[in-house]
């Protein structure tokens, strides 16, 4: 049986996904160096077609699309990752408590989860951002609030199956406390599906963030890919690059995350992909 490393990095789709993600992350980190201009700064006349001087052209107000792209990568990634971390943390807690303690704790927490799942998530996110007034924080909160239920359900299912294993009974027999058993014995063994779901959640978070920004509900003073698509959409017939360039960036990033997530899944559960 080859190791996790071999299975993960031996997969060409994973390599492709990781390459693009690595590029996006590096660009996001080095944004101020790659583009000294502030993304909202007017640098040239509007609607310049991509050229050597302005590699991705300029938008309807004469702002550099390149600057928007690299600074937007920052905004998009930071918001998506923070939102994912928040929803994974909350979802894991809810799912773990529900699965481990069962009984009325499970009933209560799962009814709460279902309550959140019954509301169409994107509309719920719009409502949340509108109530909280658009800002980076409210975007993160909104995305986290609509995306934790699936995590809670995945973790609950895993905890239910792990807690029936004999090593958990052995821990009970030597007198370990419930919370210690949950965090030391049970949760570490639910990690692999959690990692896969969590990584795919980043992709969803990027899409939600872009969609909210597209609708003008994004963080007002931060450039983001969704905002760029939204701002350029009225000029689609005259200046295709305003929409296409950030759109392709969103597409490639989401696709890469999905490829890496699936690669993780195949590498963590080799039997499923093998036989």
């Amino acid at each position: 049986m080859n190791t996790f490393r071999q299975r993960f990095f031996g997969n060409p789709r994973v390599i492709g996904g990781l390459a693009w993600l690595g590029l996006v992350i590096m660009v996001a980190i080095a944004a101020p160096l790659l583009s000294p201009h502030h993304p909202f700064e007017i640098v040239a006349q509007p609607f310049l077609i991509p050229s050597v001087e302005h590699p991705f052209g300029t938008d309807s107000l004469g702002r550099s699309i390149w600057a928007g792209l690299v600074h937007g990568a920052r905004t998009t990634l930071v918001i998506a990752i923070l939102a994912t971390l928040a929803s994974v943390a909350f979802g894991t807690l809810v799912g773990a408590l529900a699965g481990y303690f069962g009984g009325w704790v499970d009933d209560g927490l799962m009814r709460l989860t279902e309550f959140f799942q019954t509301i169409p998530s994107f509309i719920f996110a719009i409502v949340l951002v509108a109530i909280l007034t658009p800002s980076a924080t409210s975007l993160i909160v909104a995305i986290a609030v609509v995306s934790w239920p699936p995590i809670a359900r995945v973790v609950r299912g895993e905890v239910l199956s792990v807690k029936a294993r004999e090593y958990v009974q052995a821990a009970v027999l030597v007198g370990q406390e419930d919370m210690a058993i949950l965090f030391r014995q049970v949760l570490p063994n639910t990690l692999s599906p959690l990692i896969v779901t969590g990584s795919l959640l980043v992709a969803t978070a990027i899409l939600v963030e872009s969609a909210l920004s597209f609708l003008g509900l994004g963080a007002p003073n931060l450039m983001s890919w969704g905002f760029m698509v939204g701002a350029g959409r009225s000029f689609l017939r005259d200046a295709w690059w305003l929409v296409t360039i950030p759109g392709v960036a969103i597409l490639l990033t989401v696709l890469s995350i999905n490829l890496v997530g699936e690669g993780l899944n195949d590498a963590l559960n080799p039997r499923l992909s093998d036989l």
């Binding site: 294993r165 052995a170 027999l173 030597v174 007198g175």
Partner: protein, 537 residues
């Protein structure tokens, strides 16, 4: 010997590159004659099931594939047959009986309809004639009420009845060869005995050849005409059953045969009755009965009823019973994983029945458990040292001291002390079970509760683990309650036996007395069902 029906010549089956060995089956040749039962014996990983699947062309290609040899059956080489041809062979000429009938049967289809399907596909019989054949078959395998059983779903039948249905389906088209892969391993002893008798009877009546795959020498002694012993994909020994069992030639066969616990009961060492380490009085446990939110009252199961039992200090008592007899529930009540509904559980004289987990804490170290499944009983993400030292650390032993003790314990159970730093997946099943024993001993218990500790292990490893448990118990002066379904194992390690059925203890006494003179009818039935009881090595 008449001309063989099936002849396997120098069969080689390759495993995928990442496996621990290149060939699953490495140059095996064997032959089965008409009207013969050939047992293929081997431990897990010996390649016996892969060989059977190769005969039927059911290998999970492309990862596992045949790379050489020939399988001659009725004048053709099955390895070179077309898929169309193979389908015909599989349906009519060779049939298969699986280990787990619940998985092999379609749960959504009545068993009669599943049997009927065979005739519909392979014969031109009309519906009433097919029904007639199904009823005949079902009465042939001694299913009760063969007129009614065809209209049952698999879940409505018992395990033994399901296996009878499988056998009926295997016999449907009068095949020349039946391949039975561990067909009785999932069944209780008494059911196993009935199924083995049935298989022999039918095989004799129809003159079918049977390739019988098993790991159990008792079963071999019961049914086989000839035996083939396999190890690591190679053929180790072959011969007539009586000869191989009585005078095995190969060292490996000798070791395997010697590893089967003998049915000679162990004698109680001292006649005195010391104070019991564990005493149960009128213990009861009822499951269910709580009404669901929308459902009616739930089904109540009286898992343990009015059980009285003592484990004298320094003795080992076997609790013997078939699945569903309540023996595991009883164990879970004793260690506090379940709360008893009534009665006393006295550990060293202290009644702990009905205690909460917090109240139980000071008594935890008194009784520790060795679990059944060595792959599920150790946390895969913890190092062996942490696993063993967890209990003592929680009781306040400094970590360094607990780890030193863990090294010592690993030495006692026959592992390297350096194993503390390694993870469970680096060990084999038997070694893991040793780690589980070390974990139980780390709490310095007075009573060890062993719940089928060897039933998931290979025969040769079983014996080692049993002997280890026995040695440790005697040298440390522990008491043990040993839960098992296997009377051989019980006779090997326990001075006393309690037989459990439907939640109640039906008979109890010294092992030697119970073996010599079983009083209860069920005990007699259990003793009669032990496979290979007539064979003593």
């Amino acid at each position: 010997m008449s001309a063989p029906i099936l002849r396997i010549e120098d069969l080689r089956v390759a495993l995928p590159a990442w496996s621990d060995r290149p060939l699953a089956v490495d140059g095996v040749s064997l032959a089965i004659a008409r009207n013969e039962i050939l047992c293929v014996v081997g431990e897990s990983g010996s390649g016996k099931s892969v060989m059977a699947k190769a005969v039927l062309g059911l290998l999970p290609a492309p990862h596992v594939r045949v790379v050489g040899g020939a399988i001659h059956f009725e004048g053709r080489d099955l390895l070179r047959a077309e898929e169309e041809e193979m389908r015909e062979v599989r349906g009519g000429r060779i049939s298969m009986i699986f280990q787990e009938p619940m998985v092999a049967l379609n749960p959504l289809m009545k068993v009669g309809a599943q049997t009927d399907e065979i005739f519909r596909v392979h014969t031109d019989l009309d519906a009433p004639a097919r029904r007639q054949r199904v009823v005949e078959l079902f009465s042939d395998v001694h299913l009760p009420d063969p007129e009614r059983i065809p209209d049952s779903y698999p879940h409505e039948l018992s395990g033994g009845q399901r296996q009878r249905v499988m056998i009926a389906m295997a016999l449907a088209l009068e095949p020349a060869l039946i391949i039975a892969d561990e067909p009785t391993t999932a069944l209780d002893v008494t059911t196993q005995a009935q199924i083995l008798t049935l298989l022999k009877e039918l095989q004799g009546r129809h003159g079918t050849a049977v390739l019988f795959i098993t790991h159990d020498f008792g079963v071999v002694a019961e049914v086989a005409d000839r035996v083939v012993v396999m190890r690591n994909g190679r053929l180790v020994e072959t011969g007539a059953t009586g000869e191989v069992l009585r005078a095995p030639q190969a060292d490996y066969t000798k070791a395997l045969v010697a590893a089967v616990p003998s049915l000679h009961p162990r004698h109680a060492s001292a006649p005195d009755q010391p104070a019991p380490a564990l005493a149960l009085r009128g213990l009861n446990k009822v499951y269910g009965g709580r009404a669901g939110l929308f459902g009616g009252p739930g089904r109540r199961v009286h898992a343990v009823r009015d059980v009285d039992l003592e484990v004298p200090r320094g003795r080992s008592v076997a609790l013997v019973g078939e699945s569903g007899s309540g023996k595991s529930t009883l164990a879970r009540c004793v260690v506090g994983l379940e709360r008893a509904d009534g009665g006393d559980i006295r550990l060293d004289g202290e009644n702990i029945a009905g205690f909460s987990r917090r109240q139980l804490k000071p008594y935890r170290h008194l009784v520790q458990m060795v679990f059944q499944d060595p792959f599920a009983s150790l946390n895969p993400r913890h190092r062996v040292g942490d696993i063993i030292a967890l209990g003592p650390t929680l009781r306040g032993t400094p970590k360094r001291e607990a780890w030193d003790r863990a090294r010592e314990l690993l030495g006692m159970v026959g592992l390297q002390p350096e194993a503390v730093g390694r993870y469970p997946h680096e060990f084999s099943g038997g070694q893991r079970q040793r780690i589980g024993i070390a974990r139980a001993l780390a709490m310095e218990p007075a009573l060890i509760l062993a719940d089928e500790p060897v039933s998931a292990l290979d025969v040769s490893v079983q014996k080692q683990v049993l002997d280890l448990l026995d040695d440790l118990r005697q040298s440390l002066g522990l008491s043990m309650l040993f839960i098992t379904h296997d009377l051989r194992v019980a006779a090997h390690v326990c001075e006393e036996i309690a037989v459990m059925r439907h939640g109640a203890i039906v008979e109890r006494g010294p092992t030697s007395e119970i073996f010599a003179d079983p009083r209860h009818e069920y005990t007699r039935q259990l003793l009669d069902s032990v496979p290979g009881k007539g064979w003593e090595h």
